[in-house]
Structure formats: C-alpha cells, structure tokens
Symmetry: C2
Subunit: 424 residues, 2 copies
C-alpha cells in the first residue's frame, strides 16, 4: 500500500457550501481513505474574520484574510473558491492559478463570464481549474458531457436548471395558484430571494446553459447570445390549457444544434407529458442530452443546497488525488455481503373474516420485531374471504420469513398472495 | 494541428449492434474528426462467412473467421467484441488482451461472470478493457460511477435495468391487462424473447447489478449473491392496490450498503409515485445512485437497441483516442450561432368571435410559412371575447414574429396573451 496521499486545500468562504464541504471531509474521511488512499486537509480558510471559523469549530489558526498567504503557502495543493460573485473571486482564482495551485469553484456567474480566460491562465501555469458544482449542484452534468457522447453528435441539451422557478411552476400546476401567490410562498420558505429576478427571469439558468453549451458544442458560447424569457407572465389559464392538451409548463434552458448552427434560449415551454422533463417536480433539476445515436439521456438530482453542492466540489477535489503525485488509480473499498436483507414490505393475504384474526396477525408481526405502517381490508374475488393488505416499516428479511411461516400456519389465513418490497 | 490519429478496430460480430457501430462511424466521421482529431477505421470483421459483410456493403477483404489473424495484425489497436455469450467470447478477449490489444465489449453476462479475471489479464498486458455498453445501453452509468461520487459514500444503487419487464409492467399498469397478455404482446412486438426467462425472472437485471455494484461498493460482487425474484407472479390486483396507495410496481435491481454490509437483490417493488423511478415507462432504463452528500442522482435513457448500444461502444473506443499516442485532450468543434430560432409554438389570442376571423389568422400563418397543428376556441374571462389557442408545427422565430406583428394589427384580435415554445 502506497503512503497515504495528503491533499491540502485552502477554502475561500465558509458559507453554506463551505461548511458542507468541511462536514463532508470529516464525515467521509474513512471513505475517502478507503477509496483513494488519500486524506484531504483544510489548511487555510479565507474569511473576513476568525470568529466564523471558531463558531463552526475550526482551529482559528487556519484563518487568513490575506490571499497572499495562500499563494505563498507551498503546502496548499488546491484552492476551493466558494465566495460567489465575480469580483474579487476572479482575481483570487487568477492569483491562485498563477501560484500554480489547482482550483475548484462552484461559481457559475464567474465561469460563464470568464471561464475561457481562467482556463487559459490554468493552462499557462500547468494546473487545472474544475467547476462541476457550478452547474446543477450534485448532478454531474459537466462530467457527463466530458466523458460521454464521445462518438456521438450532440443534437441538443434541454433542462430544468433552476429549482426556484420549477418549485413555483410545480405549485401553480398542482394547486392552481397564481404566479404571485407561489412566488410569495417560495420566498417565505427561503426557496426564492427577496429580489427573485435572477431566478424568475431565467438568468441563473442561462449562466448554466452557457457553460454546458461549451462542453456540448464547443462554441465560445456567450451569455448575451442566449435569449432569456422568464416565468412572470405565466397564467393559470395557460397551465390549465397545457394540462388539457397533455403538456406541463416548465422553464427550460435549451441549446440545440442543426447543421452546425446553434440556438440557445431559456424560456417557458409546453413539455409533452410523455417527456421525462415534464415529470421533474419541485426543487429538482434535470438535464436531457440528446446524441444522434445515444438518443436522449436524462440526469436528475438536487441542483442546489449545502450537501449536494459540497458533494460536487469534493468530487472535483478528489480528482486531484489521482493526478497529483504517487497515488494510482482509484482503490475501491471492499464491502462485505450482508447476511440479512432490510426492507419495507407490502403483503397481501387472503383471510377468513373471523373475530381476532387481525390481532393474531399483528401479534405475530410484533413477536418478530416488525412494526406495521398500515393495514387495509379489501374485498376478494371469492366472497367468503377478504384480502388483508399490510404495509410494514423497514424490517429484516429473516424476521419477515419467520413471521410468514407462522402466518401461513394460522387457521384463518387461506393464503399469502403477495410479498413485495416497498420504496418511498 | 497534430496529424489525424488513426484508430484501427477489429469488429467481432456483425449483428445489430455491430452494424449500428459501423453506421455510427460512417455517419459521425466528420464529428469524430472534429472532436478528437481522430479517424476510426474498421480493419477486420470476424464473422462466420464473408457474405454478411458483402450484404451490409462492407469490403469482403475485411472478413476473417480466424482470431489468430486479428491477434497477429499489428495494425489493430482495439478489438470490439459484440458476439455475446460467454464462450468463445471470453477466450477471444483473453487472446486479444494477451496480444496487447485494447478491448471494448458490450457483453454483460461475460463481464458479470469473468470481468475481474479479464481485467487482471488486461492489467498484466498493459492494455485496457472497457464495457460501458454492458450496462443500460447508452445510459452512461459505469462512467458516472467511475467519475463521480468520489468524495461521497455511496449508499445505494436502485434501478430499472430491464426494458422488457418494464414494458410489460407499464402495460399492465396503464391498460389493466394480465401478465400473460402483456408478455404475449411484448413477444409479438419483438420486445421479449420466445423464452423470456432471462428477462422476466430478473436474471438480465442481476448481471448489470453485479457489474455496477463492483464500481459502487468495491465488493467482488458475485451473481449468485444476488437474490432474484421476477414479475411472473404480479397480478392486476396488486397493481391496482399499488395505485390506490400511491405506488407503481416496478422490477428494481437494488444494491444498498449499511455499515459496510451490502444487500443485493432484483425484485418487484412498490415504488412511491413521488420517486423518479415510478415515472420510468415502457422500454426505458434508469438508475438512481444515492451518495450520502449528493443525495439521489437518477440517469434515464434507452437501455438497449442498435443505436444506443453502438453509442456506448463508440464512446469506449473514442476513449482510446486520448490514451494512445499523440492526441492530447479532446478538441471541440466550434458550432456557429444560429441567426434564427426554430421551434413549435403555442399561442393564446383573445379575439372577437366574428365570421372570417379564423381564416384571416390562418392566412397570416400560411403567408409566413407556418403550418398549424391544432386550433381550439375556448371561453374567456370576458364573455364578449373568445380565447383562440393555436399549436403550430416547427417554424422559425423570425417567421413567427412577422406573423405576430400582422396578427396584432388584425381588427378582431384583441390581444396576443401567450407565446410559448412546445416540446414533444
């Protein structure tokens, strides 16, 4: 076994995602060691003051408010920029790249507007700039475009790239409320900003479309080339008409290429209810990539939030475990096979409807440590018997097997008709 | 610009996927050159006789029925195995690897049963064995597990890995038919084999689960360790009960890890209608991967078929464009920005219901080259006016703009209330 590789990171910004990353690195320390034979150490945290570190339980000696300390620290391998906004993040990242540090960022505005320039600086300095977290949080859409469709011609990218607007449209669709009512609720729940312009006018989605279009179509795609139309004019009437015609209204970011000509837009779309994107509800994000041979591939997941975004950032950081120094290919941990299964169960029994039968069965479950979520008595094809439908909480397969053996021997039970797993 | 990299492949088997691959390489030749500065040449085709090649329009000089000719051909860079079955594919792949050829295969049975052994042979010989197409056709689930979740602990993989059974269950659910009726129809349509055992008993799905579990959990997962239960016992009654309780029955392949202990099974599951997997219908495949920080990421696409499988094979082949010889990182083509948009439109107009209004509007569309898919007249909030709802076929944005300018000036049109894109 090679020596454990140490990856030292400087973290710029201890906000929601920064805290999520620190927690991930702590919680998944054993997993990361197991998978990569590597350990990630936070060796500097750039913030306005040290209090934030101390409050979060970090050593105050990690604190710095001077980027030069990070550039000069030969110990720092990777700079993780989680400050957001274009300035001064752009200057900080440039400085880090010039100091030969690899950089990971989640900053979509910055990458959209200045990504090409920063990638050039990285190249000149022989280091790498990664930014999976800038698009769709934990949904690995940049990596998917990098590593797949290599023999395909990509025809289009279409997606739900903004959770706030999808939450609002889902609520308008499901509850028949107006745009204004749903926006207010989204704001009350913290899903939408007090100034929601960036989300509801399609600007946030356009940043991501711009970044992804470069991977898919190689165009030096520019934000200004994207037509943007938001959801503020969507009415309940249009949503109802859509439903009647078999469609659902979604705010889609679309880039499609015909004969080498690219169209890019963010706008509300009548999406056929047969299409996967019509089924993405609430705060979820999704992206459908269409290759000329692969057909449509859709990726769905959480597009924002502390943990999912930290996951994407950590993924980029762990990439460096295999490009820096002496650690070879990913080493996989070895899980061991479980002796017993664990699951929720659905059971359907045919029973003679006699007094006490339900309590007999309930007792058998209880004796085997199985708790019941719901019980329904239903009619059966045979009028003399009833169907008893039971959904359990999560239990062991061995416990269920014992219970079923006992139930099969119970006088009033005619047959055990179905035993199926339940998820969700 | 570096010299165009030549990648010479020997193709074993000119069946559906083999033909799909040959077509892809021809159709996407310019795209592949553009993206990778590479050209893929089929230099040998292993088949039983040369007729098959000639009938498909391939040069009969490519034909060989002797693997030794392929092992000995210094010109062959990559061997693509598309024969299926375990023997003699296993021996052929071993031979190719020992002759220092890279190998790409779509053979799930073989990789499930002997993947570890073959990867060992590849390693010993300093070459690479890739098999993205062995799992879920064009859905890049192996690459996703390789390149993502690097900082996460993967908690579970759950998926619909078999299109035949999903087609049958979808039909049972949507049309209330019995298993036997749906199986017969699937067989008539060629979606199910005359002996459907491998599909309906969960064996096919278990092969894929076995392969994916190795990437996710590092266990030397064995096919025999997977509990398999098929769909033959699923009744309409269970499907109806599921619907009543808010679930859909799906055949899921599941591997989940708790405290380092892994459970693996293929079985029919009550999937909550809130879960993405409940919404995957027909012959589609899907896989949900759950990381402890990423939460659930779902990938959806076509899990079988000539083109999607060829797409996954070609992706693996193109990987070698960047590991063999002098071609650097992927070069991206440059698309150019389209001057005009193309899309289907939904329009909602408020009109005064006067004779001739519809023909006036239809004429404006016709004059601007826009053809109409459907027109609906609807009541409006204002009793004096009607809503006119129009869905067009695909047209240009400039044409639509001209038509809208004209429509806005039409006497009986009160207002243009909505102009939205339509997909599907």
């Amino acid at each position: 076994m090679a020596t454990v590789k140490q990856i030292n990171i400087a973290l710029l910004g201890l906000g929601t995602v920064g805290k999520g990353l620190v927690n991930l690195l702590k919680e998944n320390e054993a997993e990361i060691l197991n998978k990569h034979n590597a350990k990630v150490n936070v060796v500097k945290v750039f913030e306005r003051n040290a209090d934030k570190l101390v409050k979060f339980g970090l050593d105050k000696n990690l604190f710095t408010d001077n980027m030069q300390n990070i550039y000069d620290d030969a110990n720092v391998d990777v700079v993780v920029e989680l400050l957001g906004r274009i300035h001064p993040s752009k200057e900080y990242i440039e400085g880090a790249l010039k100091a030969k540090k690899n950089v990971v960022t989640a900053n979509k505005d910055l990458i959209c507007m200045h990504g090409d320039e920063l990638l050039e600086v990285a190249k000149e300095n022989g280091v790498t700039l990664l930014y999976e977290a800038s698009c769709l949080g934990a949904v690995p859409v940049i990596n998917t475009l990098k590593n797949n469709f290599l023999g395909d011609e990509i025809k289009s990218i279409k997606g739900i790239f903004n959770g706030t607007t999808n939450y609002i449209l889902t609520k308008m669709t499901q509850e028949g409320l107006s745009y204004e009512e749903c926006l207010k609720e989204a704001q009350a729940l913290g899903y939408a900003e007090s100034d929601p312009t960036n989300d509801v006018e399609g600007i946030d989605a356009a940043y991501k479309l711009c970044i992804l279009s470069r991977f898919a179509f190689g165009l030096d795609a520019k934000f200004d080339d994207i037509t943007k139309k938001g959801i503020t004019k969507i009415t309940s009437q249009d949503i109802q008409i859509a439903a009647r015609l078999g469609y659902t209204i979604k705010l889609l970011a679309i880039a499609k290429c015909n004969n080498g000509e690219l169209e890019m837009r963010v706008n509300p779309v009548f999406v056929s209810n047969n299409h996967q994107l019509s089924k993405i509800n609430g705060a979820f994000n999704a992206c459908t990539i269409e290759g000329n041979y692969s057909d449509e591939i859709t990726l769905i997941g959480r597009g924002a939030g502390s943990h999912p975004t930290a996951s994407a950032v950590a993924n980029d950081v762990m990439n460096f475990a295999h490009t820096m120094g002496d650690v070879g290919s990913r080493t996989l941990k070895k899980a061991k096979l479980a002796k017993d299964g664990t699951m929720k169960y659905y059971l359907r029994l045919s029973i003679l409807d006699k007094p006490g039968i339900l309590s007999d069965i309930a007792k058998i479950f209880g004796d085997n440590g199985i708790s019941i979520e719901s019980v329904i008595q239903d009619k059966n094809d045979n009028p003399e018997v009833k169907s008893l439908i039971i959904v359990t909480h999560v239990t062991t397969s061995s416990g269920m097997q014992k219970a079923l053996d006992k139930i099969a021997k119970t006088a009033s039970v005619q047959s055990v008709d179905s035993v199926l797993e339940v998820i969700g």
